[in-house]
């Protein structure tokens, strides 16, 4: 690898690296001030919470790369949670089949978003806003009151720690990255997504199959959100159709994507950055507990941190030499 090549790669991943460093700094602060410090239970709990948001943030990254947005990820996440609390039960075989069905339905939800956007030619933001309502309605139908259960063996295996103290969720996250994100990013479809995000007309003129790319992108987003929902069920051991959970995950996923360095205008970024963005966001929330802050001030503290984090993007203004570059 030549020096310029390395330089180029560093530049490309600058934002993701910054998010990783941010997370490392916050997490170090968290561990240093935690009563129990660097122990397996603390790490496992932190990972379980972080990975849930990280996977939903990955789901959000894909449409954002294509200059779209998926405001229904949180609701697909909740729908998968409710479905899993019905289906992932019984014998090991039944539970595995059930998990497969949950993921398939998540992908189907994403596909429906894609179909409406591509063939209905509606804007992603309003489409997913409306389909999100539909998915929430379906979750309510499945779980009018919180409840249900999940295959205990599966849940324990996924939320516990492997021998050696590595949280199992971390392995799940790694597997999702290797099985979904890496092949996608390296495929023609992944490249086409970035091309569409950079410039739709240019991508169209270059013969990119826009319809297929968008369909795959939103389907994968649905699938990832459903994986998150399945994992949520493993953590909570129950299903709950909560509009609040869906809303919080949708909004935090957007924040994580932005902190992870993916441009909301599309065309640049990566799901890896979003993962670290999600971890950083989650750890900030936990920081409040180790510092024993008055609970009353917690929402304000979190809001200010969130606002500051997303405003960091304004630093690029310092480098703008032609004022016209400010305006798109």
């Amino acid at each position: 690898m030549t020096k310029t090549d390395l330089h180029y790669r560093l530049r490309e991943h600058r934002a993701a690296l910054a998010a990783a460093l941010l997370f490392a700094a916050i997490f170090a602060l968290y561990i240093a001030n935690h009563q129990m410090g660097w122990t397996v239970p603390v790490l496992t709990t932190a990972t379980n919470k972080g990975v849930l948001l990280a996977i939903v943030a990955m789901a959000q990254t894909l449409p954002v790369l294509a200059a779209g947005i998926d405001l229904s990820v949180g609701m697909v996440f909740v729908l998968a949670n409710c479905l899993a609390s019905h289906l992932v039960v019984g014998s090991a075989l039944q539970a595995t089949l059930g998990a497969g069905v949950v993921l398939a339905i998540g992908a189907l939800c994403g596909l429906l978003n894609g179909v409406i956007i591509v063939y209905g030619r509606l804007q992603p933001i309003i489409t997913t806003l409306a389909t999100g309502t539909i998915y929430y309605g379906l979750s309510l139908g499945l779980r009018p009151v919180p409840g249900g259960e999940i295959h205990a063996g599966l849940a324990d295996a996924l939320t516990g720690a492997l021998p050696g103290g590595v949280p199992a969720m971390l392995v799940v996250l790694l597997a999702v990255v290797l099985i979904v994100w890496v092949p996608y990013r390296r495929s023609v479809v992944g490249r086409a997504t970035l091309a569409i995000g950079s410039s739709l007309p240019a991508a169209y003129m270059s013969g990119v199959n826009i319809g297929r790319t968008i369909l795959v992108t939103y389907t994968l987003a649905g699938l990832l959100a459903a994986i998150g929902g399945l994992l949520l069920t493993c953590v909570t051991y129950s299903g709950e159709a909560s509009a609040a959970i869906g809303g919080v995950y949708t909004l935090n996923s957007i924040a994580a994507v932005v902190i992870g360095g993916t441009s909301l205008a599309g065309g640049a970024g990566s799901a890896i950055g979003s993962i670290f963005g999600a971890f950083a966001l989650r750890t900030i929330g936990d920081l409040l507990f180790v510092f024993d802050l008055e609970p009353l001030w917690q929402p304000l503290f979190q809001g200010v941190i969130l606002l500051t984090a997303v405003s960091l993007g304004a630093l690029r203004l310092l480098k703008v030499s032609n004022r016209l570059d400010l305006f798109k």
Partner: protein, 322 residues
């Protein structure tokens, strides 16, 4: 006939007409279910309830016309309600006098921060207003001590939100009419209005034509914040009490109303008349679904399906090849 259809299409009023037709159809469907749907009482009550959404949608529309989006609606509505009630609680009689302007001013202040972030720091509006929403929530939690605020609305607020002073027309509707009239004037008779459409179409071109696009953006967000807070004040008067998360139910309906009324979600195109029709449509839809006693699940699904279906009829974008 085709000539008429073509002219309609070119005038850009097609979505407004389609939404109006749907509203009418909804009323007809409702009247099959119960005769009450066509009574003056029911319609006036719906108009009164629609006024709250209408005021929120006015601010949301201005921001959407710019090509942005304001996700801080939920907690700015709450800010308006809680702060106006608190002003009356803190300062006694003078407080009651300035409660309404104070609440609206607080919302406008948050709108100002929104505007600074979006216009001058160039942070995408979707994410910056999200942050402001979180900060507003935090401040309200601290201010109310984490409890539901005990401050009640002032008699004036109650009168404005629920009274019917003039010929039996709800006062809230009059408030919406005044705000609507001002918005129409702003959009079509002032340079600021022209500039809003220009920025929404292409900010760069507007900037090169000498428009101070950042100030235009700032002003729109201030107005949007004030509108959200004003709706909060009305709501507080309506329910005689400010409570946390009172604005949660207004974000999605407001955006849906604006878009169903034919305003382009990417900005630059749209009429206020469309937003009015969109607001009426959403309000009627919600009302009919609840009167029919469809369970919450069915309501959510039907709500989403109707929005998608209507947009598929008249809100579709252009083909890539065009």
């Amino acid at each position: 006939m085709t000539a008429l259809a073509l002219r309609l299409k070119r005038s850009g009023q097609l979505p407004v007409l389609a939404a109006a037709a749907c509203t009418f159809a909804l009323l007809m469907v409702g009247s099959l279910y119960s005769k009450n749907f066509l009574s003056a009482d029911y319609l006036l009550l719906q108009l009164q309830i629609a006024s709250f959404l209408g005021v929120v949608a006015t601010g949301a529309m201005l921001v959407i016309l710019l090509g942005g989006i304001d996700l801080s609606v939920p907690w700015l509505v709450t800010v308006g309600g809680v702060m106006s009630a608190a002003a009356a609680g803190w300062w006694g009689d003078t407080g009651a006098l300035i409660a309404i302007p104070f609440g609206i001013l607080c919302g406008a202040a948050f709108g100002l921060v929104n505007g600074i972030g979006v216009a001058y720091l160039r942070v995408p509006s979707m994410i910056f207003t999200l942050g402001i929403n979180a900060v507003a929530q935090g401040l309200i939690v601290v201010q109310t001590g984490g409890f539901a605020p005990q401050d009640r609305s002032t008699p004036t607020m109650h009168l404005i939100a629920t009274g019917r002073s003039l010929l039996g027309i709800p006062n809230a509707l009059l408030v919406w009419a005044v705000i609507g009239g001002l918005t129409l004037f702003l959009l079509h008779r002032t340079t600021l209005g022209r500039a809003i459409y220009a920025v929404g179409n292409r900010e760069r071109a507007a900037y090169l034509s000498g428009v101070d696009t950042r100030r235009v953006t700032l002003l729109c967000f201030v107005i949007a914040g004030a509108c959200s807070a004003a709706a909060g004040v009305l709501l507080t008067g309506y329910s005689t009490k400010a409570y946390q998360a009172m604005g949660d139910a207004y974000l999605l309906p407001a955006i849906a109303a604006v878009v169903l009324g034919g305003t382009n979600i990417l900005g630059g195109r749209g009429s206020y008349l469309g937003t009015v029709v969109g607001v009426l449509l959403i309000t009627l839809l919600q009302s009919i679904l609840s009167v029919m006693q469809i369970p919450e699940m069915g309501r959510q699904v039907i709500y989403g399906v109707v929005i998608i279906a209507m947009l598929l009829v008249y809100g579709r974008g252009r083909r890539h090849s065009d």
